[in-house]
């Protein structure tokens, strides 16, 4: 039987902490079972960290809300063991079209090249994303989910945080070494700590109409500036699973947010787009405004803020939920090393600095898109309209048109965790230290798989590119040494097509069947890349030197004094 994730309720269970005489200190408590909190909790549990996830109610997202999940997020969901389900259910898309009035001015393809496991985007209702993550979470031994558990108090101590959790059985104290606050834009944890999330609010209102219908539109993102069916405003159309279509209507600041939600106001707007005679039903209606803001710091002692609690963006570019899941991706492995005593707590400061940098990038892109869609002055509107008029015939103007720069992961170029390239090691590819590793098709023992799937075990990965005539015995020895480092590095060997390197114990050999891995990494025989557990490149060399790798791992885990 199919689960109705919109109606699903989770069972509240009385927590053992109610009755424990001295409640234990849990390694990590995550507050908020949205996409970000669930991702963080699953990631930690998969990496062997015991985690308690508390949520104030017992249901999933109300309404479709965040619907666009980007390639990078899907790769993270793959690592969390539920990417395939998302992609199977979701509507995959790569193409966007931009219209001025009723004329197509250009279209773009977000993933023009093949050789990636995942599409540029899928559209999937947030309740499915949360539902699939929750299903995955419930499979994990190290993860306890506690529904109807509302955090109403927080106190930071030298070696732990104490939360007061209110439940149907009354309140109890929940203690943790670290708390991940993924409790959304109106974060109560943030409020209780007296912290701010500040930035810029936009004076505009948008209407979301989710419409159920059989329609001939393709699975593409369609964006209209000033269409004849909704004059002087913008409209965005997206396809979701279950024959549901998301339509965003820009309404302007003067629109009445209550009146505009009434079906008798919404239905004529939808009919104007679809034409009379198209049958549809309203699935979900919402009016929203937005701000671009962030907290000054995502780390406050033993409390780490992730997702909407830490930063907010406009919806143009799908950078909200996507960046939040990337926060979780960045945080989980660092927390694991810190609670296990394998890295100092300074590593958590790099969670904050790296994701604050990413948040600034997301805010910058979404602010620029918003300023283009909603010009803030007459002259801004004039330039916007001139750009749109030129765009049909002038390629440069298409580059200016901004209906949302769609979410791609930040390149953490300035991260202190990166080991800069040696000047003598020249690379010409985008996989610089700080970048997310690229995907590519490979085979293992003749079986097709994807490169990123082989780097998803939550450990550091060392990727060694071998030649056709390598001394494999000697290489195997050096790769084996990587497994014995204090923070171990899992070795992967990428062999050129047709090469038959002998089996090496503890080392996975990938065949680069189409040569795409070597191309995307600009690799030559001997090239070595060090990947973090979150699949970001943190160092690379033209030759494998175990001491250099060891130093780079120390640096990427804050286990070294850079000046020392």
């Amino acid at each position: 039987m199919q689960t109705d994730y919109q109606k699903l309720r989770f069972d509240y269970v009385r927590a053992a902490d109610h009755d424990a005489p001295a409640s234990p200190i849990h390694p990590v408590v995550v507050v908020g079972a949205g996409p970000v909190g669930l991702s963080a909790a699953i990631d930690l549990a998969q990496q062997g960290v015991k985690v308690v996830l508390v949520d104030n109610d017992d249901t999933l997202s109300t309404g479709s809300r965040a619907i666009c999940f980007a390639k990078r997020t899907l790769e993270i969901f793959d690592r969390l063991g539920c990417g395939a389900r998302m992609v199977d259910k979701g509507v995959s898309w790569n193409v966007g079209k931009v219209f001025l009035h009723d004329e197509l001015i250009y279209s773009f393809n977000l993933l023009p090249e093949t050789g990636h496991a995942r599409p540029a985007f899928i559209n999937l209702q947030q309740y499915y994303v949360e539902g699939y993550l929750a299903d995955r979470a419930m499979q994990l031994d190290h993860l306890q989910m506690r529904w109807k558990s509302n955090v109403v108090g927080i106190q930071q101590h030298a070696d732990h945080v104490e939360l007061t959790v209110e439940t149907p059985d009354g309140a109890y104290a929940l203690r943790a070494q670290y708390v991940v606050a993924a409790d959304g834009a109106r974060s109560t944890v943030r409020k209780m700590l007296g912290l701010d999330c500040s930035g810029r609010s936009f004076r505009d209102r948008f209407l979301i109409a989710d419409v159920k219908m059989k329609a001939p539109f393709p699975a593409e993102r369609w964006f209209w500036f000033d269409p004849p069916f909704h004059r002087n405003q913008s409209v965005l159309l997206h396809r979701q699973p279950d024959n549901v279509w998301r339509i965003d209507f820009q309404l302007g600041w003067d629109a009445d947010p209550v009146a505009e939600k009434a079906p008798e106001r919404v239905i004529p707007r939808v009919k104007a787009l679809l034409g009379e005679g198209v049958e549809f039903e309203l699935e979900w209606v919402s009016i929203y405004t937005f701000s671009c803001l962030r907290m000054d710091s995502f780390r406050h002692g033993r409390v780490l803020f992730a997702g909407d609690s830490a930063h907010g963006v406009s919806p143009f570019g799908a950078r909200g939920a996507n960046s939040g899941v990337q926060d979780a991706d960045n945080l989980a492995w660092k927390l694991r090393l810190v609670v296990n005593g394998d890295a100092p707590s300074a590593l958590l400061d790099t969670y904050a600095s790296e994701r604050e940098y990413a948040a600034d990038e997301n805010i910058r892109h979404s602010t620029r898109a918003t300023d283009f869609i909603t010009p803030k002055s007459a002259v801004s509107r004039l330039f916007r309209d001139a750009t749109l008029k030129l765009a049909k015939d002038c390629p440069f103007a298409r580059r200016i048109v901004n209906s949302g720069r769609l979410s791609v992961p930040a390149v953490l170029s300035d991260s202190p965790l990166n080991t800069p390239d040696c000047p003598a090691d020249v690379f010409s590819c985008p996989l610089t230290p700080g970048a997310v590793c690229a995907d590519a098709p490979v085979t293992i023992d003749g079986k097709e798989t994807w490169f990123l799937n082989q780097t998803s075990g939550g450990e550091f990965t060392g990727v060694y590119f071998c030649g056709l005539d390598d001394d494999t015995g000697e290489t195997a020895q050096r790769l084996a040494a990587l497994g014995n480092l204090p923070v171990r590095v899992r070795a992967l060997v990428v062999a050129p097509r047709g090469a038959k390197p002998p089996a090496m114990s503890g080392v996975t050999v990938l065949e680069d069947v189409e040569g795409i891995v070597a191309h995307r990494f600009d690799a030559r025989p001997g090239t070595f890349y060090l990947l973090r557990p979150d699949q970001h490149v943190c160092a690379r060399w033209r030759a494998l030197d175990v001491d250099a790798v060891s130093a780079a791992v120390d640096r990427a885990t804050c286990n070294t004094n850079v000046n020392g």
């Binding site: 892109h365 620029r368 283009f372 580059r399 720069r405």
Partner: protein, 69 residues
């Protein structure tokens, strides 16, 4: 003869556009017109090539009808 380049030619177009719009911050409409006029003159002088400028002028005017006719 040189031609007007219609391909993207600015490295970070979004940053440029933001800078362009922000240059007008706080100005009256009349002053914004003045900024735009000065900008056209400055850039035209920088380009210098009359053929390129003639193409740009024609393309900028295209599609706009004569108010007197």
């Amino acid at each position: 003869m040189s031609h007007l380049n219609l391909e993207p030619n600015i490295a970070d177009m979004d940053a440029f556009y933001e800078h362009l719009i922000n240059t007008h911050d706080g100005l009256s409409d009349a002053d914004s017109h003045m900024v735009n006029a000065r900008l056209v003159l400055l850039l035209a002088n920088h380009i210098g090539d009359r053929d390129v400028l003639a193409e740009a002028l024609a393309r900028a005017r295209a599609g706009l009808t004569n108010a007197l006719s």
